[in-house]
């Protein structure tokens, strides 16, 4: 491999050509019978130029010429797209002449479907977006993810990132991705409604039932559930299951040590249906769209509580970073003797492609992604919560700051909702079955059996 840059090679070729021509002109020019030597030399020099030009791209990186990194991200909302664009532009400015990032995005709804085509294509990305949990594991098993253990050590990510972020990035004893946008699922509630009816955030299930009774008696749905896209109801399902049966039982379910037909699983399905039948949710849970219409119901105070991930703050926070509605949060109430726990999860993570020729440069980009500068900008422009635990969140509204503090310093047991924890082969049938239960087209037992069947197929 040549160890010179493209510019140097081109310049050298020109010099060689002029030197040869000069020599030719002074010495043997015009002599007959010399195979038209001027032409031959000129052609030779041109061939040399062409050869060098072809070789140059392969030679370029060796001498520190600019490396181009292809990055593939998912596009969720305008704020997120603007932030990622800022991130890439800033990184490019700071690494001019060394690393240049080319950013490509796929809309969130299409990412599942298209990413496999892109990763298997002729020009796969060096860095790409991944969900955590089951999806990340699928990427790892399919051979797309590069292990990042060395980079975690080199850049000190294990101490810079929140304990939950590091724990989530670890699969099978190795780190596979860098989370940069964290989330936690809690019960968001309308403080105005609670104040009006003199209600306190419930800490136990029985307290929650009392709150729900008061709200229903006053024509307000206790909870908002917008399950048209099928992923939403799993938040309530998993929260109920974990807080009722404990994290160990949930982990056993995910690890296939507990069957999906277990009575505890069936009971969680049945409880969800019971909540629908007892009007804990607004009418039309399965036709309400999370992205579109749900917030209108919240704004009109049709429901008092909403169990959701903190990414919902994008709907609650105004452009000035202040809460647009009277909102606070509390952890999902404990059920029985099981201590309550909050699901802390990574909403967005980046992986390095195992096939990338520029892993070191890609790691440099990931390091910038979770740097203080980039994460502070993310908090200011996109919203909480960063994976970097050193970011100052004092400018955020108090309830948000309080949740940020929980995410940053919660070193305890954390868990993911089903569609993050498991691969799509099990998660999708589960989501369909849960929606069927809520609609009354499927019995809880049948929903459990269907999920078990899907899980068995994967095994």
């Amino acid at each position: 491999m040549c160890l010179v840059s493209q510019e140097y090679l081109a310049e050298a070729a020109v010099r060689v050509r002029s030197a040869v021509l000069k020599w030719h002109d002074t010495g043997r020019a015009g002599e007959p019978g010399q195979y038209g030597s001027r032409k031959i030399v000129a052609l030779g020099a041109a061939a040399l130029c062409a050869g060098l030009a072809i070789a140059a791209p392969f030679a370029a990186p060796a001498l520190g010429a600019e490396v181009t990194l292809n990055v593939l991200d998912r596009a969720t909302e305008p704020k997120q797209i603007a932030y990622i664009k800022w991130l890439v532009d800033t990184f490019n400015d700071q690494h001019k002449g060394a690393i240049h990032v080319d950013l490509n995005t796929i809309p969130d709804d299409d990412y599942h479907q298209k990413v496999s085509l892109v990763l298997k294509g002729s020009n796969p990305p060096d860095v790409f977006f991944s969900w955590e949990g089951g999806w990340a594991d699928l990427m790892r098993r399919s051979g797309f993810a590069a292990p990042l253990d060395d980079y975690y050590k080199k850049y000190g990510w294990a101490t810079r990132l929140t304990p939950a972020a590091v724990s989530l990035a670890t699969l099978d004893g190795h780190q596979w991705f860098v989370p940069y946008y964290m989330s936690a699922s809690v019960v968001w509630y309308n403080t105005g409604i609670f104040k009006k009816f003199d209600l306190q955030p419930p800490k136990t299930w029985s307290e929650l039932e009392k709150v729900a009774a008061v709200l229903k008696a006053n024509g307000i749905a206790p909870f908002l559930l917008a399950n048209q896209q099928q992923w939403e109801a799993q938040f309530d399902w998993t929260a109920y299951f974990v807080n009722k049966n404990g994290g160990a039982a949930y982990q056993a379910l995910l690890d296939r040590k507990l069957a999906w037909t277990d009575p505890r699983v069936v009971e969680a399905f049945a409880r969800m249906k019971e909540m629908v039948d007892q009007n804990w949710f607004l009418t039309g849970v399965n036709s309400m769209d999370f992205d579109g219409t749900a917030i209108i119901f919240w704004k009109r105070q049709k429901a008092a509580m909403w169990y959701q991930g903190s990414f919902i703050l994008a709907k609650f926070l105004g452009p000035d970073g202040k809460l647009q509605y009277p909102v606070d949060w509390f952890p999902y109430p404990s059920i029985g003797s099981t201590p309550p726990s909050v699901s802390v999860f990574a909403e967005s993570t980046w992986m390095i492609n195992k096939a990338s020729q520029h892993k070191d440069e890609a790691a440099e980009l990931l390091d910038y992604l979770v740097s203080k500068e980039a994460q502070s900008k993310m908090v200011a422009s996109l919203g909480p919560f960063p994976a970097n635990q050193t970011i100052d969140e004092s400018g955020l509204p108090e309830p948000v700051r309080r949740l940020g503090n929980l995410i940053a310093h919660d070193g305890g047991y954390t868990w993911m909702h089903i569609d993050h924890a498991l691969g799509p082969e099990i998660a999708e049938p589960f989501l369909e079955a849960l929606q069927g239960v809520l609609a009354g087209t499927m019995k809880p037992e049948a929903a459990a059996a269907k999920t078990e069947q899907a899980a068995a197929t994967v095994q």
Binding site: S116, S287, E425
Partner: protein, 332 residues
């Protein structure tokens, strides 16, 4: 029609003078007309290359290969990510037969196809007839209004109707409240959701059959109606004995188009219900997409595609045979 009349003459001015005579000889010796045509075609290389070989290659690459690949894939298991594609024989088809969700999707597709055909064809015919009757003053404007949804993307239509049908503040809900009726959850009720989607599909599609019927009506000679009237035929009899028989080819076209369109029903399901609640509004197209791209069972999804291909082919064959017969003047 004589076979000789049906043959295109591919001879050029500079061709071998004896070509015609040879043809007769070959014909007499028992060679088929198709063989003669083939030989003639081979003699005209540019026609063969550009007119036959190139389209054939394009067809093989863009249509034939995907179909063959899908059929092969339907006998395998593949998650779309790994390089391991496992041959599983007829497993996917066996699973298909035992899969209740598949039968729900198939049944929904049949319901969708039949009811949207009845809805759009009958309504479109009646509308076209009324608008051509001369009693409607702003007929072109009304025709335009019915055709406008055809120009809209189904995704946009789906989003628009999602808002219209939203309980509590959608237009339908507001109208229901005015009349003191309880808010209908048309997209969340498993018993209503499919019919709601069919209605929206009909609304978005009716412009096409309406336009075709309208064009067909203008082609019926007025003399036929005059003759019918002279014979004392009533308006209803004119419709049954003149209009409908004369529009038979149009009915054929709109039926096949409607069937193919219904078999491909996907966009509205994706945008408005995602097949839910449960599987209440799954159609074959959507079910195939979910299995392949969401649940990452590409082999199983391919098997569903093969079933869809078989169903589409039956209707396409009927249409081609019928269209061929009509072109030859065979009529019914």
């Amino acid at each position: 029609m004589s076979e000789h009349l049906a043959q295109p003459d591919l001879r050029r001015p500079g061709d071998h003078p004896g070509t015609g005579a040879d043809d007769v000889t070959v014909n007499r010796s028992g060679r088929s007309i198709a063989w003669q045509q083939w030989r003639r075609l081979l003699r005209h290389r540019e026609v063969f290359l550009l007119g036959v070989l190139l389209p054939l290659l394009v067809f093989i690459f863009f249509v034939g290969y995907p179909i063959v690949y899908t059929i092969i894939l339907s006998f395998s298991r593949w998650d779309g990510f790994s390089n391991i594609v496992t041959y599983v024989g007829l497993d996917n088809y066996r699973r298909l037969i035992a899969d209740q969700d598949f039968w729900t999707a198939l049944s929904n597709t049949v319901k969708w196809t039949v009811s949207s055909l009845v809805f759009t064809n009958v309504l479109a015919f009646l509308l076209a007839a009324i608008l051509r009757s001369g009693y409607v003053y702003v007929a072109p404007l009304i025709r335009l209004c019915f055709f406008l949804p055809v120009t809209m993307s189904l995704v946009a239509i789906g989003l628009m109707f999602s808002f219209i049908l939203t309980p509590a503040f959608g237009a339908v809900s507001i109208v229901a409240q005015v009349f003191g009726v309880s808010e209908p959850d048309l997209l969340g009720n498993p018993g209503l959701v499919l019919w709601t989607l069919i209605g929206v599909f009909g609304w978005s599609y009716i412009g096409i059959p309406l336009l075709l019927f309208d064009a067909g009506l203008t082609q019926i000679p007025e003399e036929l109606y005059e003759a019918a009237r002279l014979e004392g035929a009533s308006g209803f009899q004119q419709m049954m004995l003149v209009t409908l028989p004369m529009l038979r080819p149009i009915f054929m076209v709109v039926t096949v188009l409607g069937v193919l369109e219904a078999l491909r029903a996907f966009d509205l399901v994706l945008v408005m219900t995602r097949g839910g609640p449960g599987h209440a509004s799954d159609t074959l197209g959507y079910f195939m997409w979910i299995q392949s791209f969401d649940e990452r069972r590409f082999g199983y999804g391919a098997a569903i595609s093969v079933v869809m291909l078989a169903l589409s082919s039956v209707f396409a064959l009927i249409y081609i045979r019928r269209a061929g017969r009509d072109a030859l003047g065979g009529g019914g």
